[in-house]
Amino acid sequence: MSKKVKVIVLRTAGTNCDAETVFAFKSVGADVDLFHVNKFIKKEKSLDDYHILAIPGGFSYGDDIAAGKILANELRVKLGSSLKKFIADGKLIIGICNGFQIMVKAGLLPGNLNGSADSGDFKQTATLMVNDCGKFEDRWIFLKSSGKCVWTKGMDKVISLPVAHGEGKFIAQDEMALKKLKENNQIVFRYCDAAGQKPKYPQNPNGSVDDIAGICDISGRIFGLMPHPERHFLFTQHPSWTRERKKSKYGDGAIVFQNGVDYVKEKLL
């Protein structure tokens, strides 16, 4: 593989946050390809050629049946072994919004809860279901990071990102699974109020259990979140940026992409 950080942004029918995700990775120096999942299924392209797999937001296959379900099924059935190898090779995956829903429903997240960093058997142990408010909502929320995810390294302050989803309420399959998530430091983002304290609706926009907004696998390399870091990549993407007119070009979400690319440079190149 070349000395460049190679990112594949995977798309299919209904993917719609691909362009801004490509823009974010390119802006932090990655070499980015955007391909339809068909190309990988037909073996015209191979995941082996990439360091980072990004599954962007959107409504894959219309989110018919349930959000992310049909692409999750397709990935599990058609690309399962490639994905297993990708993870075993120590590479990175990020799923944003619909990408997160897909990863959870394909069993890629939270992954094996019992210590080992392999991808397990794609068993679904959590879900993202219909928001408590019963409808799609686009709003800006505050997040506090925790855990040991490579994508959120150095994020110690409360950050602000937008959410835009109808099915983002995180639920683990049982108390045990939730306990394991906490013990394993797999909870990466929690919704909070502006001061970083326990949120109420709409600060927790969907009713997620334990205010969970994003989780990673036990290795910290496989990461999914409902909020959109690529939509606060630029400073002027925040609705009230005119109140600060800061010099910085970048918004709170940029560091996520930078972290991913930095990790590859450090560990995989």
Binding site: A13, N38, G62, C133, Q237, S240
Partner: protein
């Protein structure tokens, strides 16, 4: 074998969808339902085993973490249908209506390696708990859970006999000829009415003459093609025809003949202005203007009123799908970058008992329309960044749904040209029996029978299909694989092929068109308005590459014919000729009619009350007016941030809740060049004088763009007229007057029109027995013009928002305030219309706009908000609560000018200054350190330093006598503003 699967949430899982239905039921006034649970039903048909069904359920259909399921052969209804505790309603789509979930579910099943499934249909089963009567149950089923145009409640007693897949027995091969040549006038009219052609007697005679000349009777297909091409919807014959306009001048009745209203107003303005940055105006699907050296932007706003009245979700859904296709079909195809949606409804608290027969309740319509836009826009990944919602009782039978889309494309893709012997290729969705007669249907009035007669004109869309078309199309465009494109909208293939083949002629083999199901007649194939289809013209050498691009994206693309060069439209069905029409007759044969129009200025009652000493309550009432109040409930449901291009969002301020003026986007994330989008709409001004309504709307749309940092240097506008029946002289008269206002304001501000649309016949023929409009009258909407504007910003980093930023800043009002309360929110809250409609002084306005732009460029404006509905008072309140700050303001510093149209008004009044809606005004916040520079810049322009901002969240306004006339904490003002539509 047909299998039935029922999926429900596990015990203890919160059923948010059920909770939403509970709210909707309460909206109906039914209080006896204590709980609703929703069960998802799938009906799967095919040669599959029980084990396979079980696998489909476990691996695909259910979410094991939260759901349980049961299944069995269809017909054996699972246990949960009858109970003491609840009633059951199962709602399924009617046969022939597309089930949007079917295609993707079939794909999911095939992914599992299970191939032999023929169809999947879905239904929703509602368990309604509580002690509700049969009558209440029926109301809930009919008014909330289903719409009989597209859905039905499943009758369990017949469930085992019903087939899931639609089963049509069309007599597809028989060619039908209509005896036209021998028909008299009576029969001609009958033919027009019976066939839903909506053609006048003059037009029917012209058609008869043509067929007499060529010596045969028309086929049904030929007649339909002519009706579609000649429909008001497609050809805008009112605007392009002759109008005898009667009006009054100095008390004397006068008349003049207008030859083509469109050409003599809207188009004339653009031609006169002759802007070099207007790249394509009026003749394509959207107007195109220059963006930067590489790309241009295009903008189109459509209406989808009639379908939205009958099926709000589907109507709005397909409305937005249609305008997006307009953008895909502009030039060689543009990429959509944002949507704008403007609606007019009757008030959401309209009494049920006053509803005209057959009309849906406005709250139901509004919820449905918003859902339809949400579904399509969000799934297409196009942010809805701008909009407005207006309320007036006269929209009760005819809501208005305006959908607009902006696109971007390379400069070298603006032109297209169909070439001789190019292949005709249809791409996208399949053709079904849906949407038949949309074009002609929208050219007639609605009646309470419309929902029965015209049900075929209502559809639901499939946004993912259109997204796939977009993805494939952009690749094909960039590889130069086709020479021309247009969308399949109203009129279907008939309209698209007819338009593209206008000069060359075309030959189509209708049996090649891919169908959703068997049994369509050739005529239905030809005129069906099934969604998500585009027509391309492709050179033979490129056809294989083109088909591959579409195939790679799982989009169907099919060659159905050729552009021939014969000048004839020739249709064949399995080799048999079914239509042969001279393109010349089809496009130029429409007889020009002369319609009568009359306009006289109405006289409304004037203000008869004196100014209240304390205006705090008046401000709260203005903020709570449905037209003014926060639309956050709607905006949040739209993904207004997808694509990441937003710079000024529709909700802004310290808590991201304040109402922005225009929206600003940077379509290219790596460039700081931007666009601003805004709209101007005000029906109440039109009740006084449509001329000034148009002018005011243009002023409003333009000043919103100025307010966010745009400039008059490059702003283009679009017109959208929604009017009543233009065959009635008073309706047409006000339409003429409005068009003339457009001409004056466009020239006055030098902002050209680049595209437009009209939707006429927005009337509702009311049954004599109903309470509204007794005596068989018809209910017309108020003549409504929407002006949409697009402006180019050189540097989005200089954009300005409307929220107060800091304590201790100076607050100015720019522009002159007159006693122009006619049509204002304040008068409306006092039960008045008034007569003193806001006028526009284009010279002064231009100077103001230019100077505000300069101030923004120089960074002198901390905040800027335009004064519109609700006047200065509402503007100040919005700026304060959006910024989390307060302000103290002195009215004696406001620059006022008494126009004294009203003899009653002898002097200025506090309430008039605060609530006048005079045009071309802004309120701005300026930091003290910038005071000198700012005031210098505004020398010679009406400017009042009216107060300053403060940390304390309170607004205090001192009246002309120096005493406080308004005092309120901003939290309570914000509450007044947010409460009305916080559902």
């Amino acid at each position: 074998m047909i299998w039935r699967v029922e999926i429900k949430d596990k015990e203890g899982i919160f059923d948010a969808l059920g909770a939403g239905v509970e709210k909707d039921i309460l909206d109906l006034g039914v209080k006896s339902v204590s709980k609703v649970r929703v069960i998802q039903v799938y009906t799967i048909e095919g040669d599959i085993t029980q084990a396979q069904v079980q696998r489909i359920c476990e691996e695909l259909l259910i979410d094991k973490v939260i759901q349980d399921y049961s299944y069995g052969p269809a017909g054996k209804i699972p246990v949960s249908t009858k109970s003491e505790d609840f009633k059951v309603a199962e709602i399924a789509y009617n046969p022939g209506v597309m089930d949007p979930v079917e295609e993707s579910t079939l794909k999911g099943i095939r992914d599992l390696g299970i191939e032999k499934v023929d169809s999947v249909r879905t239904a929703k089963k509602y368990l309604l708990f509580g002690n509700l009567s049969d009558q209440e149950f029926e109301i809930i089923v009919n008014k909330t859970l289903s719409n009989k145009l597209i859905q039905h409640a499943v009758d369990y007693s017949h469930a085992d006999k019903k087939k899931t897949a639609p089963d049509f027995n069309g007599t597809q091969a028989d060619i039908v000829r209509v005896s036209l040549r021998s028909a008299g006038d009576k029969e001609l009219l009958k033919l027009s009415q019976k066939g839903q052609l909506f053609l006048s007697i003059g037009e029917m005679r012209a058609i008869k003459k043509y067929f007499q000349k060529i010596g045969k009777d028309p086929t049904d297909c030929e007649l339909e093609t002519i009706a579609q091409t000649w429909s008001e919807h497609c050809v805008h014959k009112t605007f392009r025809g002759n109008i005898r306009f009667h009006y009054f001048e100095n008390g004397k009745k006068k008349a003049r003949l207008i030859n083509n209203l469109l050409k003599s107003t809207i188009v004339k303005a653009t031609k006169t202005l002759n802007k070099s940055w207007c790249l394509s105006v009026f003749h394509d699907n959207a107007g195109v203007i220059k963006f930067d050296d590489k790309d241009c932007v295009c903008f189109k706003v459509e209406t989808h009123n009639h379908p939205s009245a009958l099926e709000p979700f589907g109507g709005a859904n397909t409305g937005i799908g249609g305008v997006i296709r307009d953008i895909l079909g502009t030039g060689l195809g543009a990429r959509p970058i944002c949507n704008t949606d403007i609606f007019c409804f009757a008030p959401p608290d309209f009494p049920f008992e006053k509803l005209p027969q057959g009309a849906l309740h406005p709250k139901r319509i509004m919820k449905g329309v918003v859902s339809g836009v949400r579904d399509y826009g969000n799934k297409m990944g196009i942010p809805t960044v701008n909009g407005a919602i207006l309320f007036d009782e006269r929209f009760v039978g005819n809501p208005l749904v305006y959908c607009g889309t902006v696109g971007i494309m390379p400069n070298d893709k603006v032109k297209k040209a169909v070439c001789k012997n190019d292949l005709v290729v249809v791409v996208g969705g399949r053709t079904g029996r849906d949407g038949i007669h949309g074009a002609t249907f929208s050219s007639g009035e609605l009646t309470h029978e419309s929902e029965v007669v015209s049900s075929g004109a209502v559809q639901i869309g499939n946004p993912i299909q259109e997204k796939k078309v977009l993805d494939a199309l952009m690749q094909a465009r960039d590889k130069n694989l086709y020479s021309a494109i247009t969308d399949c909208g109203a009129g279907g293939l008939s309209s698209a092929v007819g338009e593209m083949g206008k000069d060359l002629g075309a030959r189509i083999d209708l049996e090649k068109v891919p169908l959703k199901y068997k049994g369509l007649s050739y005529k239905e194939i030809w005129i069906s308005e099934s969604q998500e289809r585009m027509v391309l013209s492709v050179h033979k050498s490129k056809i294989d590459s083109l088909l591959k691009v579409f195939n790679d994206e799982n989009v169907e693309a099919t060659v159905i014919g050729e552009f021939t060069g014969t000048g004839y439209l020739e249709l064949f069905f399995s080799g048999r000729p079914v239509c042969s029409l001279d393109m010349k007759f089809l496009h130029d044969g429409l007889p020009r009619l002369t319609k009568e129009a009359v306009w006289a200025q109405p006289k409304h009652k004037e203000a008869h009350f004196s100014c209240p000493a304390d205006l705090t309550d008046s401000l709260k009432r203005a903020l709570s007016h449905y037209n003014v109040c926060s639309k956050e409930w709607v905006i949040r449901q739209y993904d207004h941030e997808v694509q990441g291009a937003g710079v000024v969002k529709s909700l802004t301020g310290v808590d991201c809740e304040g109402p922005s003026d225009a929206s600003v986007l940077r379509p290219k994330l790596n460039s700081s060049k931007g666009i601003a989008i805004s709209n101007g709409i005000n029906i109440r001004f039109g009740m006084i004088d449509p001329f000034w309504m148009s002018a005011s709307c243009i002023d409003e749309a333009v000043r919103q763009i100025i307010a966010v940092g745009g400039s008059l240097k490059q702003i283009a506008i679009l017109d959208n007229f929604c009017w009543g029946n233009p065959d009635k002289a008073d309706r047409l008269g006000s339409l003429v007057r409005a068009s003339e206002g457009c001409l004056a304001a466009s020239l006055g501000y030098k902002v050209p029109f680049i595209s437009g649309k009209d939707s006429l016949y927005n009337e509702y023929a009311v049954n004599p027995s109903t309470t509204l409009g007794a005596g068989g009258k018809s209910l017309a909407i108020p003549g409504t013009i929407l002006i949409s504007a697009i402006g180019i910003l050189d540097d989005v980093n200089r954009a300005v928002t409307m929220d107060f930023k800091k304590e201790g800043s100076l607050v100015y009002i720019i522009g002159e305030t007159s006693d122009e309360l006619g049509g204002s929110i304040y008068f409306d809250n006092n039960g008045l219309v008034g007569n003193s409609v806001p006028k526009v002084d284009f010279k002064k306005g231009t100077k103001i706009f230019e100077t505000v732009s300069k101030a923004a460029q120089k960074g002198l404006l901390a905040a800027c908000h335009d004064c519109s509905e609700g006047g200065l008072a509402v503007t100040l309140a919005e700026m304060a609560f959006s910024g989390g700050l307060g302000a103290t303001v002195f009215l004696k510093e406001v620059i006022c000018k008494l126009k004294a149209q009203s003899s009653r008004l002898k002097a200025l009044r506090n309430d008039f200054i605060l609530f006048s809606e005079s045009n071309s005004r802004f309120v701005v916040e300026v930091e003290r350190k910038n005071q000198k520079d700012f005031e210098k810049l505004f020398k010679g322009i009406p400017l009042g330093l009216i107060g300053c901002t403060q940390e304390q969240k309170k607004i205090t306004i001192y009246g002309l006598d120096g005493k406080a006339c308004l005092s309120a904490d901003t939290d309570s003002l914000k509450e007044s503003w947010q409460k009305p539509l916080r559902w």
